[in-house]
Amino acid sequence: MTSPEGSEPTADIASPGTSTATGPGRVLVAVYAVLALAATARSAVQITRDLEAAPVAYLLSAVAAVVYVVATVALARGRRTAAWAAVGFEAVGVLAVGALSVAAPDLFPDDTVWSGFGAGYGYVPLVLPLLGLVWLARTRGRTPDAWRTPLG
């Protein structure tokens, strides 16, 4: 957040909006990366092992994993539009699937990352997108206009 640009040897300083990846954002990206890793690994095991057992749950796991990866990369590289989309999708996803998994458990014979509002992952999947949205809102406008790409 307050770190001088010169102290970021690995980041391309001229790249648009690295601001989402500095200060508290750096922690946000780290937690997102861990969740992306967990969701991807779990989904890979589920799909390669027995997709027929619970196709809805397993495909949903795969979608969630991809979205977590997109969110991680977008936040790390300061791609605001992609980050808004991915984090927003997660917020909607965890609320919708969380509610569905409670209301219609038959739909999900096996758990997904979002089942029970992310209870299997210590509710991190519920808290993280909310923090992500707050962070994106708080860092809005931090990127100088001259650095913006046409898409965001």
């Binding site: 957040m1 095991v45 092992r49």
Partner: protein
Amino acid sequence: MGGGGRCAARLWRGPGRTARILVAVWSPLAVLVAALSVAVAAWAGWRAVRDRPVILRQLLAGGVVEALLLVQVVIAAVRSATGDGPADAATFWGYLVTTLFVLPVAAVWAFAERTRWSSVVLVVASLTVAFLAYRCVQVWTGA
């Protein structure tokens, strides 16, 4: 004939003893990895509270954890090769190989930030490693 038999028996006992040692150190090693990771997390947490960034000595501590993880990989590979492998091989190796990448990636990510938030990143990463080490033991025994 008798001497040859004794010699063969001694040769036969060799691998068995090695296997027993590998079995004996397996759980203590996992506990050590988890405990050291928690210690690294505590150190980083303390620095975060005091508004300090990650320093090189902390990365060295993380390097010790990483070295122990590599020892775990070797032991797990030897035990698997001798037919004494994990209950769920795919999940176990998934966990163990994933664990190997967490600290190096986190170190690069944290070190680029020279504020207290780099310390928080190290807290997250080392707690992740501790949890994964715990899961590795669970998956090995099939729990």
